[in-house]
Amino acid sequence: MKLVKRIGLAILIVLVGIQFISTRSNQSSEVPSTDFILTYKVPDEVGQTLHTSCYNCHSNNTNYPWYSHVQPVGWFLENHIKKGKAELNFNEFGSYSVRKQKSKLKSMASQIEQGEMPLPSYTLLHRDARLTPESKELLVDYLNALQDSLQ
């Protein structure tokens, strides 16, 4: 019984301790000229939807949710953002080669169409990031048209 108490106490100390190791590194107030929305003069409605549903993990600036303060959830989140940005960073989209842009646009459209993105695990806590069938169609049509227009 004493042993159980000690182990319990040790776990508690660790859990409290890690709360002081903050992450939240993905924040920037600067929007570079290579940003997707700036580069392609994206219509407002499309731009806003992208901001709400995609930019948190696919740009240099994350609107961190309250639970990102809770470790180890925050670490998990940070790792997640890192991967998301490596795959696609809207802030750097304009610096991609045209070939890469076209590939990304095709993948974006199909991921949205198939409901793979935004991640269901993300929309579970971010209800505002969910895409309605209408906004889905709006995005997919826009992304496909843009892909076809690029040479």
């Binding site: 080669s97 070939r99 890469k100 590939s103 095709k106 993948s107």
Partner: protein, 200 residues
């Protein structure tokens, strides 16, 4: 008796000839009695051809791409993933400095895009539809690549008009026989030859 035999013989011969005629030139009946004429009409389409220089630099890339294509034809996503991984490695080993300085930038963009697509294929061994999406992009990358680097073999660019919501999808094969990697066993024969890429 003799005349009956001759008439029967003639009837048989003419029936045989007309049957053959109908078979080989349906739609052109009465236009010709020759057996060779309809045959020529069956090949009105000339397949465009482009020529690339001979080079061994792309050999391992093409080997792994074709293995990946065969895995997708067989609906084998696990094997596609392992071929995708090997393709990723082969792409990474390509020596850009072996190429003309003026072509290096474009080639690097091609290789980078191809690597990303190969990586996605290798990481999605449980999602064959996702693998096929990236495989379609890969086909475009590698065709553009061999136009610059050259090839060690004749390749065909094949086209399936139904893929991707009827936008169509292209792929490369060493054979002009259609074996569709986008649909596999569901629609193995869908497609046609778009371009023949031969080596100078």
């Amino acid at each position: 008796m003799k005349t009956t035999m001759i008439m029967l013989f003639l009837a048989l011969v003419s029936w045989g000839a007309s049957a053959q005629h109908d078979h080989s030139s349906s739609g052109h009946s009465g236009s010709s009695h020759s057996n060779t004429a309809p045959k020529m009409k069956e090949e009105p389409r000339v397949i465009p051809s482009i020529k690339v220089k001979h080079s061994l630099l792309a050999t391992s890339i093409l080997d792994n791409y074709l293995a990946l294509k065969d895995a997708l034809v067989d609906d084998n996503s696990k094997k596609a993933a392992s071929s995708g991984k090997m393709l990723f490695e082969a792409l990474g080993k390509f020596d850009l400095s072996s190429q003309d300085a003026s072509k290096q930038k474009e080639l690097k963009e091609i290789l980078d895009d191809a690597k990303e697509n190969a990586e996605h294929i290798s990481e999605n061994g449980d999602k064959i539809d996702h693998q096929r999406e990236h495989f379609e992009l890969l086909g475009g990358d590698l065709k553009d690549m061999i136009v610059i680097t050259g090839s060690d073999r004749t390749l065909y660019q094949l086209f399936c008009p139904m893929y991707n919501n009827n936008k169509g999808g292209k792929w490369l094969s060493a054979s002009d026989k259609i074996k569709n990697p986008f649909y596999g066993s569901k629609m193995l024969k869908c497609g046609r030859v778009l371009v023949e890429i031969s080596v100078k």
